[in-house]
Subunit: 329 residues, 2 copies
């Protein structure tokens, strides 16, 4: 198993990406190809790994696609950018999967343009595992595409169910449609049309409409929505978690609880809580619907998140679910 890692993508690239890769090859049995500015990469790699003989190689790419560039245009023009070169490695069979914490739009565009969509898939979807009290709810699409049509949401439902079953090991996963009410007549045109299509789809365990609160409560295994809504919801959750922890800290200071707990215990509590809530702790989200295993990490990923994302990529490849998705469509 060989994974191509975009060493230049992400707020903390390349240092944290490289550290994450070094951890990962020691934790999982896989090889890694770090793609990007080879001089910089070797410099950091020597510092981090020293003389260790690790299964890490470097593939040079002298351009980087920035966050503010138009994704598809940049992928077409910057043929030697780290994400394009890394994705090419998968297309050419040199690597089994590609991972990037850089521009999500660029990673999605590279996957679509280079690996191509699976036959029968109109739009790929990013499937993000959301932490819930008892496990995980898989939310897709969480931002690969906006302006999805009902058939794209159906495809997301089929792919999400397969991922939940064969990668997350959830038996007969329930699939719900994100909407503004439980009743089948509720919602915008997109949701109402999608509901009717899902109702008549025998291949998945369609459980009706999900409301926003059902996602963090873990009521369903898979929740499908348009990428615009999914992206807004995910980022809203990030901000809200931060705000709640700040307010809690204020409360504990005001009511004397902070003194009783002591600094260390408070710090440990918040650290653990953040960890359990942090979507990026799950490391990476698969991009489903393209001909190749592609995993997308949060832009703020540190070494730990990258290591964990490499684990996600490994499980994803091991599951061989691309074949199942091809069969299902």
């Amino acid at each position: 198993m060989k994974i191509a890692v975009d060493a230049m993508g992400g707020d903390k690239a390349p240092a944290e990406i490289i550290k994450g890769a070094v951890h990962a090859v020691q934790k999982y049995s896989c090889e890694i190809v770090l793609v990007g500015d080879s001089e910089k990469i070797y410099g950091i790699l020597n510092d981090v790994a020293g003389d260790k003989n690790l299964p890490i190689t470097v593939c040079h790419a002298d351009e980087v696609i920035q966050m503010n560039e138009h994704p598809a245009d940049a992928v077409r023009v910057k043929k030697n950018s780290s994400i394009v070169v890394a994705t090419n490695l998968v297309r050419d069979g040199e690597c089994d999967a590609v991972l990037s914490a850089g521009s999500t739009g660029a990673a999605v565009a590279a996957a679509q343009l280079i690996l191509k969509r699976i036959h029968g898939i109109g739009r790929p979807a990013i499937a993000t595992p959301i932490p819930t009290p008892n496990g995980t709810t898989l939310l897709l699409d969480s931002g690969a595409n906006v302006d999805s049509k009902p058939e794209h949401l159906i495809q997301s439902g089929i792919m999400g169910a397969l991922y939940a079953e064969h990668v997350l090991n959830i038996k007969n996963p329930s699939v719900a449609l994100l909407n503004i009410g439980e009743e089948e007549t509720k919602g915008n045109e997109q949701a109402k049309e999608t509901y009717q299509l899902l109702k008549n789809l025998s291949t998945i365990n369609f459980a009706g409409n999900a409301e926003g609160r059902d996602i963090p409560r873990g009521k369903f295994d898979v929740v499908i929505c348009d990428g615009f809504v999914g992206n807004v919801v995910l980022k809203f959750g990030e901000g809200l978690a931060l705000t709640i922890m700040e307010l809690l800290n204020e409360e504990l200071i005001a009511n004397g609880g902070a003194k009783l707990l002591g600094r260390e215990l408070i710090a440990a509590t918040f650290k653990n809580l953040s960890k359990r809530l942090d979507v990026s702790e799950n490391g990476g989200a698969p991009l489903l619907g393209v001909n190749g295993y592609c995993v997308i990490s949060h832009g703020s990923s540190d070494a730990k998140a990258i290591c964990s994302a490499i684990g996600v990529a490994k499980n994803y490849v091991d599951s061989k679910i691309l074949d199942r998705i091809r069969d299902a469509l």
Copy 2:
């Protein structure tokens, strides 16, 4: 000042609604007309208010619109439902505002059909104040309409800015468009078109795109979005806050913090935190864009929330911003 309160709307109606009204007339200088099943209402009112000579009257209405009914159809057919009768009182000048914790769709439909939209407004919008670390972000539309067009979002921006300035007392409020990225080229078709219209609108302080996380972080005073997205985000926040508090409780039990704090302090901390986070603690959200003051409360509202919502309605009427909205459009 006289406020018509739908005594039959909400999960805890009519008892908690009536109790809330009794608190409110003692707290604010206003009169209240309780609309609904007069026998039931008098029964509870006698228990709660006893001999007190309160400025509360009862207006009989023998039907109730249920949550699962089609809002507009039900408003047309159930002419003697509590929400229709209460809204008629505003149309006829008997009351200054109407408040309901019943079916949001029915309250919106009643307002649109009976009070009519303000000239120049294509769709009314519910403006919900979201708690942030330093105050409030006004989110609209949080569920009055789905499938909004760019011009509807612009109208929401204008109305939201006026509400923020003249009711929430925020000077020159910043108005942002909810989107999936900061750059003006980001987003779905609706967001991209809306951005261009907002950029050229000189009457509001347009501050660009907001991402989901900016709402609970309080980065902008007013955030505008489609009612589908707003509704999903609000409910997601409700569920996430609950999940975070459960996880926190687990952490404190596991790491011994719960013992150090003691039951009472933990309970007090969670209670205060919930209070600061609870959107319904703010009591009510104005429905902006109709010819009359209409306030919508959360279905789960208790007496306290209803009392607070009556306070919202009072400030809203006092602000006279309907005239300003009419002038602005």
